[in-house]
Amino acid sequence: MPVGVGLGSPGERWRERHLRVLMLAPALTILGALTLFPTLYMFTASVQRVSADPGVPRAFVGLDNFIRMASDSQFHVGLLNTIIFTACAVTVEFLLGLGLALLFDRFIRHFNFLKTVLMIPMMLPPIAVAITWKLIYQPQFGVLNELMYRLGLPLRAWAGDVHLAMFTIILADIWEWTPFVFLLMLAGLASLPVEPYEAAEIDGASAWQQFWDLTLPFLKPVIAIALLLRAMDAMRLFDLVFILTGGGPANSTIVLSLYIFQVAFRFVDIGYAAAISLFVLAVTTVLSTWFIKRMKLAD
């Protein structure tokens, strides 16, 4: 495209010549300042002891903060809980979302209103989701215990029970995020080509064979997007835990982001919080790099 041929004032000509940079600069400056500066800060803080009192100078401690991670049982519990939560929640959300999408694609097309209603949970403010489930789990007057009572089952403390607290968080997350998988799968199914199915029909393939040999392979890219986005999101889980259990009882639901939050703002140990943050950052960077490359998002 010819750029800036025979234009008016010198200012206008200058603007035209540098338009590419001028249009990118504001966004990239803001993004750069707000991501590069914090990352650099975290790198320096991770090898220092940072006192809560700004008057006390920082001390260089080498890799102490990272070595501490190896022997910190709280960190291990947080890591394990994060992995358990991510694995359970994402698996169930995926299976439910895919199953529901297959049913809708086959039998309940053109019900856009109904589909949008099913999308509501993931759009709601997470705080609203958290207090809603807190109310449902409430041991004395919550409806879950009412249901248990009607079914003749023993009443539970739910979010207050060491063995059930993680389950309550997973269940609330399933309610909130299954719609996300459902929506992506529905979109994936709607874009499938028709011809292979017609051919398979003529060859006498069963519905089950068609699902395994055609639908699943075709859906693979969408499935990868859904699983990766959900997994990356699940690893930063914070609000549900913060409201439903606060990490308790007895640390049974502490997850990495909540632990970092506590180390930084309750124990005011910025250096150690930085070390754990870098660990989380490393894991997400590996995942997100793989994700962006694989999905060709940046192309």
């Binding site: 495209m1 800036g4 035209e16 338009l19 590419r20 249009m23 990118l24 966004a27 990239l28 803001i30 707000l34 500066f37 990352t39 800060y41 975290m42 803080a45 529901l100 049913l103 809708f104 086959r106 039998f107 949008t116 209603v117 509501i120 949970p121 759009m123 709601l124 403010p125 997470p126 705080i127 207090i131 809603t132 807190k134 004395q140 009412e146 309610w175 996300f180 929506l183 986005l229 999101d233 690893m235 930063r236 914070f238 609000d239 913060f242 409201i243 970092i260 939050f261 930084a264 703002f265 910025i270 943050s277 870098l278 950052l281 995942l287 997100s288 994700f291 962006i292 998002l297 940046a298």
Partner: protein, 286 residues
Amino acid sequence: MGAIRTRNRGRERALRWLAYAVAALALLWTLFPIYWIGINSFKLDLDIFAVPPVWFDFSPTLKHYYAAFVERPFLIYAMNSMIIAVLTTLVSLVFGTMAGYALARFQYPGRWRYNISFWILSTRMMPPIVTIIPLFIFFGTVNLLNTKTAVVIAYTAFNLPFVIWMMKSYFQDLPVELEEAAIVDGDTRWGAFLHVALPLARPGLAATAIFCLILSWNEFLLALILTQTEQSVTLPIGIAGRVTQYTTYWGEISAAGFLASIPIVIFAFIVQRHLVRGLSLGAIKG
């Protein structure tokens, strides 16, 4: 042959009814919690704490709405949330749209287009807990803690990659010929963006703006750390503040939580056509 077909038809019908049953169950599962929080916000405390629970039959009251929005400063929290959401959306939309357009339309030497896009996307994937600690310290030293400015700056950083990516993909879907024609007719490159591309991208802009509003309105972790005073707190943090170690003010938080959800549900219906594109890059959650 005939027998097989009838059997298949019978199975098909059974499956269809199964699908309807599952859909009804999914609808119940989705709507019950929303119904429950909504209904509880209109109950007297007596009915909230009733065992067995009161499902439908109670005398509705606006007491909790009055308590939250008149007696307690939830109106201020809601205003804070609204101002922050609107400002964040404006700033990220202006800068993000320009950058998205530049990435969609201009030529770059070597692999620069890819590198810049890649970097922008990778900032979107950063866990917020990693960036928030330095930002908290930074805003503390420049005396911006507990101000809307700090929250808007932080939110802009989290919204920008999303806006850039959305708008880039919208501009790439627009035919370039219209802008070329405008330039041939004597318009500048900037003019072609302003007068041709931007008006054409209006549906995309609207959808992106709504996603930004939802994202900022819903955000929890950053606001929790950046706002702590009564005057600066956003609605989600205000609600969380009424869940204390000793008591939970069920009526108040139900009222505020339910009211905070209503605009989001309306937005959900407005942007339903754009949901897939938006969600593929985390339109909803930071």
